[in-house]
């Protein structure tokens, strides 16, 4: 290679690279994409070799390092070959991609081993796995990855795994829930129907916040909320009373001190005991108040949603059971439906 003009600070953008290669190869370039920060240049199979040569020898491009070469099964369209090149002088990376001639039956591609020596074994591996023949390769056989007498092209989508023919895949294809009869519960998920990971995260965060909130004031306010929904004076009054109250459970504190614990530990434990007590009281209050508090609390809302979902599921299950039983006995079906519905309620 002669002098390299390419430099890191003057690296060509994908657009400029494409323009340059289009100037030289004309129709040989069929398109380009930039996806996942990777510039892919689609090359006609006839220009594959020329494109690789240009990429290496063009002084502004100077893709001097051969990175990777692989095959892609494009289903009925045949096979693609992808080569990844890297330039040590500009730091650019380029994907060259071509659709092999010959379709599925006899895919053929030009070899680029005379440009990049490193492509030799990569092309042999691609031959092994996909059966793509590289014209001009010094020797694709014997097979490099599989045993030498291996038959078939294992990475083609239509390759059959003989073990799977003898014994089907032991797991379920998709993780599925089974009802009590061992039937797969079929569900068509809708957005917002079930708490996804993100909703679940939010609900859990809200729960964690509720549980970890050590502020006695907040609990106090929460208890007050239903009757006085917050004039500023009331709030400050409430705070005042909370400040007057001890921050921890005096009883527990005294007991722990008597047991010989340090004051700091006793204080924190007593604080926890107090919070626990308050929470128990608040929970009792909530249960009495019913759904009022639940509206504002995302955790409670999520729980309610989950409840609904469970109920719906139980109903669906009951329906299924009823259908199944309908042939035998209608009364029995009704019973089953009732019991399942009760289960859902519980």
């Amino acid at each position: 290679m002669t002098e390299v003009l390419a430099r890191r600070d003057r690296a060509l953008t994908p657009e400029e690279t494409e323009k340059l290669l289009r100037d030289r190869l004309g129709d040989g370039i069929t398109g380009s994409t930039v996806e996942f920060a990777t510039f892919t240049l689609h090359v006609a199979p006839g220009s594959w070799h020329a494109a690789a040569a240009l990429c290496r020898d063009e002084q502004l491009l100077a893709y001097d390092m051969f990175d990777n070469l692989l095959g892609v099964d494009a289903r009925e369209d045949g096979f693609d070959v992808v080569a990844v090149l890297y330039s040590t002088s500009t730091g650019n990376r380029i994907c060259l991609r071509t659709r092999c001639d010959g379709g599925r039956d006899n895919p053929v591609c030009d070899s680029i081993t005379d440009i990049y020596r490193g492509a030799d074994w990569m092309e042999r591996e691609t031959w092994d796995m996909f059966g793509i023949e590289f014209v001009g390769h010094p020797g694709l056989e014997p097979r490099i990855l599989t045993v030498e007498n291996f038959e078939g092209w294992p990475l083609r989508k239509d390759f059959h795994l003989t073990s799977r023919v003898a014994k089907p895949w032991p797991g379920v294809a998709e993780p599925a829930e089974l009802d009590e009869d061992g039937q797969v519960i079929e569900r068509v998920p809708k957005i917002g129907d079930a708490p996804g990971p993100y909703d679940l995260d939010k609900a859990m965060a809200a729960q964690a916040k509720a549980i970890n909130a050590p502020e006695v004031d907040e609990l106090e306010e929460g208890a007050d909320e239903p009757e006085s929904s917050g004039s500023a004076d009331d709030g400050s009054d409430g705070d005042g009373s909370a400040e007057a109250e001890p921050e921890f459970d005096q009883e527990t504190f005294d007991r722990l001190i008597a047991e010989g614990k340090s004051e700091r530990i006793a204080r924190s434990k007593a604080k926890a005991a107090l919070i626990k007590k308050k929470r128990a009281a608040a929970a009792a209050g909530d249960a009495a108040a019913g759904a009022d508090a639940g509206d504002d609390d995302p955790a409670a809302a999520a729980a309610a949603k989950a409840d609904e979902r469970r109920k719906a599921q139980a109903e669906a299950r009951a329906k299924k059971a009823a259908e199944r039983a309908a042939d035998d006995d209608e009364d029995a079906a009704n019973d089953a439906g009732d019991s399942a519905a009760q289960e859902g309620d519980a």
């Binding site: 990855l145 599989t146 045993v147 291996f150 294992p154 795994l161 003989t162 073990s163 895949w169």
Partner: protein
Amino acid sequence: MGLMDQVELPQPVKYVFNWGRKYSLWCFNFGLACCAIEFIAASTSRHDFIRHGVIPFAHGPRQADLLVVSGTLTDKMAPSVKRLYEEMPEPKYVISFGSCANCGGPYWDSYSVTKGVDQIIPVDVYVPGCPPRPEALLDGIIALQDRIQGESLKDRIAGRRLDPITLGADAPLAIEGATGGASGGPT
């Protein structure tokens, strides 16, 4: 081996002889995948199978008594394993370490993985797990040593082997040729 394969040794001689053999197992490690890391962990100071008399990293198969196949055996690699096994002098023992070596493990349906090292060489102890912990290898070694202690060297040299031991299996499997079935892979 001269007389050894024709004459049964007297019991006291046999005892001493086997006692000496079982605490001097030169081990040839065939590390093929992640199980090899567990094997190495078993050889280092924390688990230290050297205190059980297993000497790791024999200089070659011709100096080894014990072959530990730890990892995924591919069809491409299988001839090498068979050849190296055949280079080992009798009496020789094989521990199949990990699901892949037992039965193909998670690669049971692969186009390139041998479905267990017992397809090509006889195995004495199967250690299930994916990968097994080093303690499991110690278990396997101790099981093998127990067997060596009670063994008739005459039979061994004449190539008569006992049924393999499968760690964790309550009873030997009745199905012929399915001795590796109790390992961790999907069955």
